[in-house]
Structure formats: C-alpha cells, structure tokens
C-alpha cells in the first residue's frame, strides 16, 4: 500500500518490519567498472512493493532502471559488477543468495520482460520452445502441456495464428511480436513479481492496451506485484499504483501515481511532464525538453545530481544544491532542497499552466 522508503543515509530506522513488503529494496548500489572508471549505475536506491500493486518506474534514459531490475533477479555478472545493498523478496535475501536459490525463483516467482527483445531472445530456438522451457522447469509439465501453454500465451499476447507462429524463430518476428513473445515468456509461470522493462515500447497502442490489460489480469488473478519500467507516462497513469521517478541512479520522487503526476514535487518530474507531447497539444509549438545534458554516471554531479539542469537552485539559495545531496523520505516525497511550500507554489504557478 504505502510506498515507504527510508532515507538513504538513515539505515538505522527500519521503515516497517522487514518482510512486510513483498519486495523491498534497500540502499541498492550497482557499480560497473569500465575502462573509463566506475559507472555508478544505481547509487543508493530504496523502494518497497506490496503484492497486487504496480510500481511504475520512470526516469531519465540511462538512469539505472534496467540495472535495478536486473539486480532484483541477481543477473549481474559478479565478476564485473559490484552490487551492494539489500533486496528482500518475500522475506528472502536476493543479493547474497546462491545461484540455486535464484534459479528456482527466476522465471517462476520473479520474471522479467527485457527491453531489447531481439537480442534478448535466443536466435537458435523457436519462440514456442523458449516460452515452454521455464514452464516445464518450474511446473514440471509435460512437453505437450508446456507447448499448449506457450501457444495459449502467444495467443493471449495477441500473436496471430499462435499455433503456427510458435514454430518461428525470433528473427522471423516483427519487433512488436518479439516483444510480445518476450512478455509471454515472462508470464508463462504466472510470476508473483513481474519486472516489465518497457514492455510496450514496440507495440501499437491497441496491442499495448491489450498487454496492459493482460498484466492487470495477472495481477488480479494471482495478486502479483509488478514493476513497470517505462517512459510512457500515459501508460503509467493508467496502469501503475505507485510511481518512482529516477534520475542518475537515484530515486528523486515517489508517491502514488496521481500524487506524482498531478502534484509533482521534483523539478525533474516537472521537466518530464512538460516535455511530453500530447494528442491535444499544439503541434506548431516545439516540445520543451529539460535543458542541459544528462549527467555522466562516471562523475555524478556533487550534491543534487540534477542541479546543473535545474532552474531553481537560486530558490534554494546558496550553493546547497551543489554541495548537499538531498534526501528522499519514506512514502510520498522527493529528493529536493526546495521546501514543500516552494514546490507547491512553483508547480502551480509555473508548471501547471504549461501542462494545459
């Protein structure tokens, strides 16, 4: 219910008994070592998710959304990645868990829909077979039953003639069909936690709607929790319960969907909302992106990582934005030095009109 999280620097205060949330991520750090240095892809992220709820994650491209998803499944290569922090799934620690434990959970209790569907599907096996496999493994179903299940799911995600197309190889599918195959694969075991990394970007809106309905169907039926990573605020608005806005590997704002979308508190969120094209907007007007360039994760700006692109450090005053890292409190909140009042008034005065 409540999207509660604790301030990153305040590890001592537990926000609710451990295990109360279905998934709870605490102080997650994921660092990659590269030629150029350490990439801090996720830099102190915390969130919780209850069963039957959907958490939307939006944010800058490259802000660590997919990496977070992968961490939950423990899919990073430990040799090249440093993962710190705590990920509790249904009371079970995931970060330190052995491969065997993780194997049993993956695809079964937790499933993930990958972003890049062509490369994420094996070119060597038919779509049907790839969907079958986790089902057989986790349910012990027979080959035939599994195949039937795969065909059923392909049908449900809207692949025409699923019986026939199940025999196809990924390269014979269109982009959207691959993505749907990917979704079918994730759903085949009715997972309790589904991490959907941009599940509908390659889909036309009608199919998208169908897929989103399918996801909520799953949620209703099995009380699954869903993490929906997306850029489409429209999708989030219609599907998610809670929303987490990420920037440079951190959460900058969180709250329920309507809270965040209707009364956003963080300048980055404002930027997102204002840069969104809408069906009704005036086409002659250029879109208004957030000024400046995304931060480098090699050398994240000091203090508030958003400050170089933010229009309001002056309102905060001094060099606080440059020096001090803003914290995000549990529940509804945002990581910004602006005071609550300032946030409200700035939004209502400057931002809301532009959303028209």
């Amino acid at each position: 219910m409540t999207t509660c999280a604790k301030p990153e620097d305040n590890a001592a205060t537990p926000a609710g008994a451990p295990g109360s949330a279905f998934l709870s991520v605490r102080d997650l750090y994921v660092h990659f070592s590269t030629e150029d240095g350490i990439v801090k892809a996720v830099d102190g992220l915390s969130f919780d998710l209850e069963r039957g709820r959907t958490l939307g994650i939006v944010g800058e491209s490259g802000s660590g959304k997919s990496v977070t998803g992968l961490s939950v499944l423990g899919l990073h290569d430990p040799m090249h990645t440093e993962t710190r922090g705590e990920i509790l799934l249904d009371g079970q620690e995931m970060t330190g868990a052995g491969e065997k434990t993780l194997e049993k959970l993956r695809g079964n209790k937790v499933a993930m829909i990958f972003q890049d569907s062509l490369t994420a599907l094996s070119p060597y096996y038919t779509i049907g077979r790839q969907i079958c496999e986790p089902y057989r493994k986790h349910t012990g179903a027979s080959r035939r039953a599994a195949w039937a299940r795969a065909v059923e799911l392909l049908g449900r995600v809207g692949i025409p003639q699923p019986k026939l197309r199940a025999h196809d190889y990924p390269h014979q599918f269109s982009g959207g069909m691959r993505q749907r195959a990917m979704i079918a694969m994730a759903l085949v075991c009715d997972p309790e936690l589904l991490i959907a990394d941009e599940p509908t970007t390659a889909l036309d809106v009608t199919v998208q709607a169908q897929i989103l309905d399918l996801l909520s169907d799953l949620q209703q039926e099995f009380g699954s929790a869903i993490i929906l990573i997306t850029h489409d605020l429209g999708v989030v608005a219609n599907t998610a319960d809670e929303l987490l806005v990420m920037y440079a590997g951190r959460a900058v704002e969180r709250g329920t969907v309507s809270e965040v979308l209707r009364a956003p508190q963080h300048p980055y969120t404002w930027g997102l909302l204002t840069s969104m094209p809408r069906l009704e907007s005036d086409v002659s007007e250029a879109l208004t992106p957030i000024p400046g360039a995304p931060p480098s994760l090699l050398a994240t700006p000091t203090g508030c990582p958003f400050h170089p692109r933010c229009g309001y450090p002056a309102e905060v005053g001094g060099t606080r934005c440059e020096d001090e890292r803003p914290l995000i409190g549990p529940g509804r909140g945002s990581a910004c030095h602006l005071s609550a009042g300032q946030k409200r008034s700035l939004f209502i005065e400057q931002i809301k009109p532009r959303l028209g």
Binding site: E35, D36, V58, S61, G62, K65, S66, D116, L118, G155, R156, G158, I159, P160, Q161, L164, F173, S174, G175, G176, R180, E198, T201, A202, L203, D204, V205, T206, Q208, A209, Q210, L212, D213, L214, D217, H231, L233, G234, A237, N238, L261, R262, L272, L273, S275, M276, P277, R278, L279, S281, V283, A286, L287, P289, I290, A293, P294, S296, K352, L355
Partner: protein
Amino acid sequence: MATPEGILPSPRDDAAPAAAGEALLSAEGLTKHFPILGGFPFRRKVGAVQAVDGIDLTVRAGESFGLVGESGCGKSTTGRLLTRLLEPTAGRITYRGEDITHANRKQLAPIRSEIQMIFQDPYSSLNPRQTVGTIISGPMEINGLNPPGGRERRVRELLETVGLNPEHYNRFPHEFSGGQRQRIGVARALALEPRLIVADEPVSALDVSIQAQVVNLLQELQRELGIAFLFIAHDLAVVRHFSQRVAVMYLGKVVEVGDRDSIYRRPRHPYTHALLSAVPEAALTDADEEGGGRERIRLAGDVPSPVSPPSGCRFRTRCWKARERCAESEPLLVRVAGNRVGHLTACHFPEDPTTAADAREEAVVLDPALRGVRQPSSPSGV
C-alpha cells in the same frame, strides 16, 4: 492491390502547407512476401508471410511522413524495402524520379548517403565490436565526409546533440542503456546529413525529456536542412507532433493516409479510430481525470495472420461495421466523401467523423480474453 485511384495524392493536390516539396521517394504497389520454410528434414516453402502487400506511398522532400499501425503490420519491412535492404517481391521504388527498385550497389552508391535509416532494435543494429566513435564516424568515412574540425569532433558533437555524453566516444554498445543505444543509432543516421531518414521507432525507448529533445532536433533538421522523414512510431502523440502527413497501416496495407489534422481530427477508417481511442494519456490535471478519459475501443476477435490474410477488407474480422461486402471486395484507398483533399481511406463503410463515436459504442465487443478484467470506467463518452 493498388489501383490507379489508390495512388497517393500527387503534390499538386496536396494542400498541406508544411510539405511543399516534390516527391522524394515513392513506392508503387510495393510488396514483400517472406517465404515460410517448414518440414523436416527438407525444408520447403510452405507459405508466405505477406508482410507488405502492395502499398503506395510518397515521401516528399522536406516532409515528415508518419507511418503508424498495428505491430507486425509491415512497417519495418516497408522501411527496409524503401532503403533497399530487402528486395521487393513486386512493386516499384523511385527516388527523385529514378527507378531504384532493382538498382545494384554501384547504382545506389550516390544515393546511399542521402537515405539513412534508424533501426527499430537499437542494440542489434550496433556492431558489438565497435566503439561508439567508430560506429558513428563509419558512415562519414564511407562517404568521404570530412567535417571541419575532424570526424572525431563531429562525432562528439553528434553525441551531444542526441543527449549522450561525448565521453562515451570510446565505449562499446553493450555498456549503454536501451535509450542510449537508440540515440547512438540516431546519431549515426544524422552523421551523413541525409535527405531522407527512415526512422523506425527512433524515440520509443527514450524518456520523454530526451524524446522531446530528439524530436526537437529532428524537427530542426527537417526545417533547416530540409531532411525528409519516414517516421515509423507507435506513439501517436509523437507522430502527430512530428509528422505532417500520416499513413495508417494494417496487415501489410495502407488503410488510411492524409495530413495530420485530418487523420487525427477526422479519421475515417475504423482502425484509425480504434488506434486513436487507445492512446493512453496521463491524467495530469483534474480535468483530464474527469472528462478526458476518452473511450477506448477494444478490437475483438483474433488478430489475423499475414500468412493468410482475410479476404476483402483485411480489417473486417475485427471491425464492428463489417458486412458481407467487406469480405467480398477489397476497399480501395480513395478519397471518400467528406474527406479533405489528400486524405484517402480504404473502407467501404467509412466512419462519419462526427457520429462515429456513437455508432461505435454498441458495436464494441470486448475481447473475450479481456472480459471482466477491467471494464471501461464509464461509457459516458465524448
């Protein structure tokens, strides 16, 4: 099949102010069938995926031509055909009046730098063994472009333009996030400053802010350099924002084409209606919440397969207005009564732009798979 009437509006008829250019790239009766091989151990052709089945379209100089449609309806295939990556099964492609349908590499050489493509799947279109710098400077090298300040500087500029850090110059594709990869693809296409870019979902993986940035960039390019776009996308809002003319495809066919306003405001084809109705919108304001919830049309029935498309009108199996005639004869892509000049629709029973919504309401059949899941909030409607 395309009929003489089905040929897209010629520039003379065109009233759209933004795209005043002449035909840059046009296709007539463009068709692509992929053979399906099956059987063991001897694979034979057992059928064909009719991915693109006789479409006509024209992209004019300097315009952005949007292509939307069902996923799997053949948009990417069309893009590939137009860039001559695929050999068409039938049809004709002309670029600036020149027939390039079967041009070989040598003949294509001069225009290669003029037509570029942004690929739908960003990762697989990037060579995993090349650094970003190499990937983006490659096209310049091939075409002998020597921008002032050197190629590397240009690449860094491009990286910055698409919102990537110039310091990423020496990184490999697998080190990027999905959106970043897509931007690399965009940068690569821009490197040559082409006349036409076939952009297959260039912004779908970008967050809205970057998306805005990229769309603005593309728009700027279009405006200032006169680059034309074939803009394939699912995000109708973006298409509307960026494209002057829009074509809607369904199962290998163009079902409706016209200029932006007329397609979005006065759609005539039922499928276009369905599409527009399904766009999810963030309810940003209270007003949105209350009145903004447009009714979503749910398409019933199984999605037909491109292997054996329905007879007649291909949309009929899911259309609430389908009648016998729809199964018998294929509707031509023509200007139906009430359409503006240049707005063509392939439908026997086009929707009335004003009354369509009402008529639709009764005919909406819920997809059995979705029944009872999430009822439309209220059918109060428009």
